[in-house]
Amino acid sequence: MAPVATYLQTPTEPIAIQTEDLTVTYDQQALWPTNLQFPQHAITALIGPSGSGKSTFLRCLNRMNDGLAKVEGKIMLGEVDVNRPEINVYRLRQQIGMLFQQPNPFARSIRFNLSFGVMEHQHISRAALQEKMQTALEMVDLWSEIEGDLSRNALQLSGGQQQRLCLARTLMLTPDVLLLDEPASALDPIATAKIEANLLKLKQNYTIIIVTHNLEQAARISDYTAFFYEGKLREFDRTKQMFIKPHLQLTNDYLSGNFG
């Protein structure tokens, strides 16, 4: 493989999760060795054209590619390499929660949606559970919208509300890291703005990694941005820096929409 120009800034903040020479191979190699450090309690956006490897990379972080692809290299969550076979992926996914493009609530009550995961994994009193549910719903600004009525069916909520419910459902398991794969691409601008406001609030306590095709969104909410192209991480820098003065011509062209 011919060497390609890359520019990778080293974050100054403490690192929550990092990859070391992470590669993904389906039938062909989809991700070339990737070393990326995610600052704690910050939002990092992964951007790049379709097929650039950004979603593939994201899905490795909580082992969503297991059984679909060969994932090699290290994924260090603190001091632990979570890419080893002996790691319990169900426990891992409590620590690294995920939100998808389409809202996917269970077709049950809001209460069921929120309590299901917790009841499965923890012994918790009824009162503590109730408090936890309220806190999670407040974090996503849904508590007042549903007027505290947890018995409502989740599918009665609007798309944006469903997505925020799914975010609250993830928060119920008190993860350290939140992975978001295009969480707002199915939502209208107002619902999108609400999700973005949630994320800006949540980053005080969580490390957030978001894949987005919406460059304006990456610019608005992220602290760091990673640019992927043809299966390779090409540029990683503070968002402020990258959106004003990217280091690579390739990044500049992508951000300016000058591809093709």
Partner: protein, 222 residues
């Protein structure tokens, strides 16, 4: 636009107002140093200009980040562009204050013309009043006040012409007075230019609120 954007915009507005107040103070101190022949104060004005320049740079950075990252449109966009442009005018006003302070330091001889010094003091007051009213118009988002401020530049221009006439038409034109006269003329000229920059600031206030790029006043831009 999210809450984060409005917080940052507010901080940008506050920083712009602070810069305006500091620049107004620089005009006052520089002419005071000139009239009082206070070289120490003049040096303070010159030193202080570094801070003014620094605030312009940080305002520019703040405005550029907001534009690049938040991509504001409509009123938000116009407001940020206006601050960006008006802060450049404030910075130039600061440079003119430094020019006045330098005259204080370089002025030779002790021959003075009290009547002209009085006229310069009066002109300084007019210019400062004009700047403060422009900042007030900005703060209150008041277009008609901004337009009124720009119209007063006419008076500043007249004051300049009067000082010029007082210097050249002086019957006792004395070679002893020539160096001081040159400095008086320079200072009056700096003040006149400051007036023009305040007109520009008023124009940006109008743009920010109405979206119209206007040419206010009939000031010379030579």
């Amino acid at each position: 636009m999210g809450q984060q954007f409005f917080d940052e915009l507010k901080s940008l507005q506050t920083n712009f107002m602070d810069m305006g107040i500091n620049v107004s103070e620089q005009i006052y101190q520089s002419t005071k140093s000139f009239i009082d022949h206070d070289k120490q104060l003049a040096q303070q004005v010159i030193d202080h200009d570094r801070m003014i320049n620094g605030s312009e740079v940080s305002l520019e950075k703040q405005a550029l980040y907001l534009m690049a990252l938040q991509q504001p449109v409509a009123t938000n966009f116009r407001e940020i562009v206006s601050i960006l442009k008006a802060s450049a005018d404030l910075e130039r006003i600061g440079d003119h204050a430094v020019g006045i302070a330098r005259e204080t330091i370089y002025i030779k001889g002790n021959q003075r013309i009290p009547e002209v010094e009085e006229m310069i003091a009066a002109m300084t007051n007019s210019v400062r009043k004009m700047l403060e009213e422009a900042l007030d118009a900005y703060f209150r988002e008041n277009v008609s006040v901004a337009e009124k401020v720009a119209a007063t530049d006419h008076e500043i221009d007249q004051q300049y012409v009067q000082i010029r006439q007082a210097l050249t038409n002086s019957p006792q034109l004395d070679s002893e007075l020539a160096p001081a006269s040159a400095s008086y003329l320079m200072v009056a000229r700096f003040l006149e230019r400051i007036g023009d920059h305040i007109v520009n600031i008023s124009e940006w206030i109008v743009y920010s609120k109405t979206g119209n790029i206007v040419e206010l006043g009939n000031h010379r831009r030579d």
